[in-house]
Symmetry: C2
Subunit: 175 residues, 2 copies
């Protein structure tokens, strides 16, 4: 997909919180942000170079061990401005590329022998996802304090939980 380089803004958003290495950024997509966006380190490292060339970020080096030197990236004033600009722009809702929905579209008959198995598999996958999200909510937002401090993250998690819950409800209906 040749998209609107949203990854760049995610990186700016993360660096806006605090200075991070390419590895730190990569890790972020394994946890928090990974819940709703994906990125590989092989995409992140080259993009960091490009963003630095574009003067949205800079980097400084840190001696992290006897031999290891870490590159830590910092957002620039221009980067902060670009990030704020992006926040203000209208958002596009990329139609979610849901493979199950796609398949379902092509199954015209209510009596297709494929349907029960497909629906069950999907129910299980979605239920697992829902459990995982609920666990995340427990782990990351144990008290009101966290909800206040990271209200965006909280809203996003709540949204994901609602989405999965509603998806499961719909799966029950078409059964």
């Amino acid at each position: 997909m040749a998209q609107k380089n949203r990854l760049q803004f995610i990186i700016l958003g993360l660096l806006n919180i605090e200075s991070k290495t390419g590895y730190d950024l990569t890790k972020a997509f394994d946890s928090d942000i990974g819940e709703f966006w994906t990125a590989n380190h092989s995409q992140i490292y080259p993009l960091l170079k490009k963003m630095e060339k574009d003067q949205l970020i800079t980097h400084h080096e840190e001696q992290a061990g006897p031999k290891l030197v870490k590159k830590s990236y910092d957002i620039t004033t221009a980067g902060k401005a670009a990030f704020q600009e992006w926040l203000k722009e209208p958002s596009e809702a990329d139609n979610s590329h849901d493979e199950f929905i796609l398949k379902l579209y092509f199954i015209d008959s209510k009596n297709s022998p494929l349907l029960p198995e497909m629906i069950n598999e999907q129910k299980q996958a979605r239920a697992e996802k829902l459990n995982h999200l609920k666990q995340q909510l427990k782990d990351k937002f144990p008290t009101e304090k966290e909800k206040q401090q990271q209200n965006g993250h909280y809203n996003v998690l709540k949204h994901a939980i609602q989405r999965e819950t509603d998806y499961l409800k719909w799966l029950d209906e078409i059964n």
Copy 2:
């Protein structure tokens, strides 16, 4: 995105219904399928060539005017098998790339001056989408007959409507 070539299976699914030209396929993404998947003609024509080379489809030419010759594509036995195979495989749920959610994640404070405008804009966009979907449902499924004949399409539309409805509900909650 270097994905799992789902477009190929959409094309197979559409050709499995009936023979179509590249233009017909392109049009399908402006209406029905466009509700949940996108593709440009510049992606479709080269893919048709590749799929023909892979013997998933063939084509025949039709004299459509004094000068115009249309290329109509047909699914092969191998194509039908590949399509059925795909239907049976487990489905992956690509985390929907929703830009609004992404932005929200980075807004930590409930009192951010950006929030009200962002939420309103999103509410309006989603409400419009919902209206459009409801109209589609009316237009394409006026009676029980259509629901029986195209149950897959019906389910997918119902799902989209539920999704937008729930999304709007959630937007009200975070307001």
